[in-house]
Symmetry: C2
């Protein structure tokens, strides 16, 4: 099979030296990639410069992206030519519009006017004691996948922080339906550390538990293969 995997976390530039970054090591995406490669599948891994990556090997194609715009541009043609997308990348929700100091905000009659501005300087001045950064929503990449290729099989991820299990499952099932995914890996940051990574494979009616990244990778692999 031709498997498309995303891993790592995107970064949205504030200026040439600062970014807003979503944290993700890339470790889980690396393990999933290696498992499919070991079993003779072709994998295209879309990841970031900072993420941990598998070694170069036959069957593996690496694509490096930085922000949501480059992810979208890279992913669209790939989604059309692969059978499965395992979308483990932590994608930025917001991207910077304009950064200014408190004085400009206080002087503004209408805040909406500031949203039409953008920073011309390559490195924003660090003179002011307080800065205000306006951000806008990025496109939801996972919601575009089935529009690009209605027949691709989609495995989604949902990371929440410190919520009851019922809420985690409910949010995962919302994503499952809205994005027409086959299943969603639902996890809570408070249950992830160096020794464990608690996650649930959530579909319409079941929630299968995994305890480690290796176990998550194995269960994803088995589900993808079983339904082939």
């Amino acid at each position: 099979m031709k498997i498309l995997i995303t891993s790592g976390g995107t970064s949205e530039k504030i200026d040439q030296v600062r970014s807003i970054t979503n944290h993700a090591s890339g470790n889980l995406g690396k393990m999933i990639t290696e498992l499919f490669l070991q079993n003779g599948h072709q994998v295209t891994l879309v990841t970031t410069k900072a993420a941990v990556k598998p070694q170069k090997q036959d069957g593996l194609t690496l694509k490096i992206v930085s922000d949501v715009a480059s992810l979208q541009a890279t992913l669209e043609p790939l989604v059309k030519t692969h059978q499965v997308l395992i979308h483990s990348m932590a994608v930025s929700d917001y991207t910077p519009i304009y950064m200014t100091d408190l004085a400009e905000l206080q002087a503004a009659r209408d805040v909406n006017q500031l949203l039409k501005k953008s920073n011309q300087e390559a490195k924003i001045s660090s003179a002011a004691d307080t800065q205000v950064l306006f951000l806008k929503k990025t496109p939801k990449i996972i919601s575009l996948v089935k529009k690009w290729n209605p027949t691709i099989r989609l495995v989604g991820f949902k990371l929440l922080v410190d919520v009851p299990k019922e809420e985690l499952f409910s949010v995962a099932r919302d994503s499952l339906k809205r994005n027409q995914a086959e299943f969603i890996i639902a996890n809570d940051l408070t249950n992830i550390n160096d020794r464990q990574h608690i996650a649930y494979m959530v579909d319409e009616s079941t929630e299968e538990l995994a305890h480690t990244k290796a176990e998550i990778a194995q269960k994803i692999y088995e589900r993808v293969i079983a339904h082939d």
Copy 2:
């Protein structure tokens, strides 16, 4: 000699999954560290999880920091027990105070009231189309070094983006005087790529040019040794 080196870039958390990050690979700090180690000096390298690091070896102590607060807490006792600080780390200028949506900003009578708030949720909601992030200045770590230890020798760094050479030198000399540094490595991001790293060792009266990270490391080493 006991040499203290900082490398990499700090990250300031917005919430449990997002940060504002200053980009820095850690490559130059690694080269400087290796050069001092090869010549029999003791090095303490204060760096970040994401930065490139030298291999574990005799004479090297590694300290991992994340944000400006952890950098400050880690650096203060080390500055008091080392003879030289080579401060190549890209340190965040600002740290998040409070993130909210446009509606709360528009409803606020006095923006200053919002600066007293903080986010209680572990992952800030991504429902709103536009978000507003308030940031405050972090303490200038380089300005504290001589207060912590008036006899430590200080090598500073100044990175600007796309400015005339005269402005780069002038800003570097301001930093040299204000922070009582021995010299400042002044560089412009537009002159840094995979093949070259143009930088100037700026002191009161001279600007010595280097073309690569290896050459910068060598020139720093020679200057530190020469004045010992």
